[in-house]
């Protein structure tokens, strides 16, 4: 009995390896196809991970013959850099700004695309609907620099808004340098850019709702508001929950490109987020180790948040981003 099993094992092992060779012969091209993508993945996504050791070293760029050599030759300092970061006032301030801006964006901007999708869904005139959709999606395709330019022309010191204000005898309001107004400006411009585009996912969800439900509701004498409240919203609730969970997962992402394009020294106190701080400290002031360490902290927390939120979402709604 025992020897038989062993024998069949040998045979099956042999046939497995034969099978594998045959598989490779037939499909080596598949692996060939993977090569170009993998080269870039390894060089531009995984190689930088070596650089993360800078977070635990006192990195001095001129120590070696090249960057890699300098990284190796720089002395280990353990967790000193992290200690320096966590005990600094700047860290608390930029972490606070990141969270505040992110939460404000969720609170004020998350419901907007849902409302827009519901309103658009109620439009029966196809041409009107299509026109509105085309127009509201457009801002999504503009760069943050252009959005900055547009808002600066509208709300800057010499902008149209301030011209109107001064014409009517009011004082000018400088949104871009006022600490009270800069965060609202960030929220408004982010809403302007993304609301239309974000409504697409909810539009798709509404389309999937069974139309018989509405017909039955009309027979029962339910008006539009009741239909929206009792059919549309419950119908898209799973998608809303999914999007909210994922959005919370990206809470450390307060909108780097946007803030980087729009902020200025006058509003650092209220707008400097982790990423912009890393850029200025790490590259601007060449405190490479600090920039790397703070970046590593940010990436690890973000990674944990996103994967756990995706996990929660998969458990509760059966859907996720991967």
């Amino acid at each position: 009995m025992k020897s038989e099993t062993a024998l069949s094992d040998v045979i099956s092992y042999d046939s497995v390896s034969k099978k594998f060779i045959k598989y490779l012969k037939n499909h080596y091209q598949m692996y060939l196809l993977l090569v170009p993508g993998l080269i870039f993945l390894v060089i531009f996504k995984f190689l930088p991970l070596i650089g993360l050791t800078m977070a635990f070293k006192d990195f001095q760029i001129l120590l070696g013959n090249n960057i890699l050599d300098s990284i190796f030759k720089s002395p280990w300092v353990g967790l000193d850099i992290f200690r320096r970061i966590f005990s600094s006032q700047d860290f608390i301030s930029v972490l606070g700004n990141t969270l505040i801006i992110s939460v404000l964006k969720i609170v004020f901007l998350f419901p907007l695309p849902i409302i827009l999708a519901i309103l658009l869904n109620e439009v029966k005139n196809r041409a009107f609907k299509k026109t509105v959709q085309t127009v509201v999606y457009l801002p999504y395709f503009l760069s943050w620099v252009v959005v900055f330019g547009l808002f600066f022309t509208l709300m800057g010191n010499e902008g149209v808004l301030n011209n109107l204000l001064s014409q009517f005898g009011f004082e000018k309001v400088n949104f871009f340098t006022d600490k009270e107004l800069f965060r609202p400006l960030l929220i408004i411009s982010a809403g302007w850019k993304d609301t239309g585009w974000d409504s697409i996912i909810y539009m798709a969800a509404i389309t999937a709702i069974n139309t018989e439900l509405y017909e039955a509701a009309v027979v029962d004498g339910a008006n539009k508001f009741k239909q929206i409240w009792h059919i549309t919203i419950p119908g898209i609730l799973p998608v809303i929950i999914l999007m909210l969970i994922l959005r919370v997962g990206y809470i450390l992402n307060a909108g780097f490109e946007q803030i980087f394009a729009m902020y200025n020294p006058a509003v650092y106190d209220v707008a400097d987020i982790i990423d912009t701080y890393i850029y200025r400290k790490g590259l601007g002031q060449m405190d490479f180790s600090l920039g790397t360490a703070l970046g590593l902290f940010n990436s690890v927390i973000a990674f944990v948040l996103i994967t756990s939120c995706n996990f929660i979402s998969r458990k509760s709604t059966g859907k996720g981003i991967w």
Binding site: L34, G291, K319
Partner: protein
Amino acid sequence: MNYRITTGEKIFKICNAVILTFIGLMAILPFIHVFAKALSDNSAVISGKVTFLPVGLQLGNYEFILTKSMFLTCFRNSLFITIIGTLLSLFCTVTTAYPLSKVWLKGRKFFVLLYIFAMLFYGGIIPGYMLMKSLNLLDTLWSVIFPFMVVPFNMLVVKTFMEGLPESVEESAKIDGAGDIRILVSIILPMSMPVIATIGLFYAVTYWNGFFHATMYISKPDLKPLQQYIYEMINSANNINNNMSVEEMLKISPGGVQAAAIIATTLPIIIVYPFLQKYFVQGMTLGSVKG
């Protein structure tokens, strides 16, 4: 009873149309204002007379950015980045997505995991900069192309699309003894054109709009892409009037030139967008969420 509902519905319809018209106007009016400003007379711009129609129509602002500034050079850089970048990205994305769309591919899970990890874990600004520096890619246009070579999200969208293609279409080619590459080129590629168009547009927009990488990696003025040029122009309104005659300087204003540059940068997107909207929306609903 019935009558009451219809009145209510009518009111709702009207309110809805008004609200949506308002939202639509909000989305488009900033453009119209900047567009008008770019075409307006210097004095009208400075005195703030321009709202939604050009005042004292003239093309001096456009003339300036097209002849007296670095605009065209930067435009060419952006064009190069966008065209070459999109083509290379599409190549790498499709060649990656096809093998990974096959459930039977050995090692598939591992490779997919690599890309998902790359999507979720960011190495950071400083290590990225050090990498570019060690590869001697600083101050080259490649430095802003390579980081976006395969955007994992886009690759996963293409992969999902290919998974949906019926396996049977490949059967006849397999019987003829065609290799995987030939099947990809002659069968899968033509069938995947809708998703390739969508993803190609996403890449093109990413390349055209990208500016942070350029800010970090490119410092030579003649290598800067358009977005960076505009960013610097807005932030330093005074640097436009070198080597100009007094007459020319009277014609243009910083505000007007900025407006013209903003419009000229956005124009390529605004022109192609209405025709390609279908593909954009398709991609959004195709790839955003995995069941």
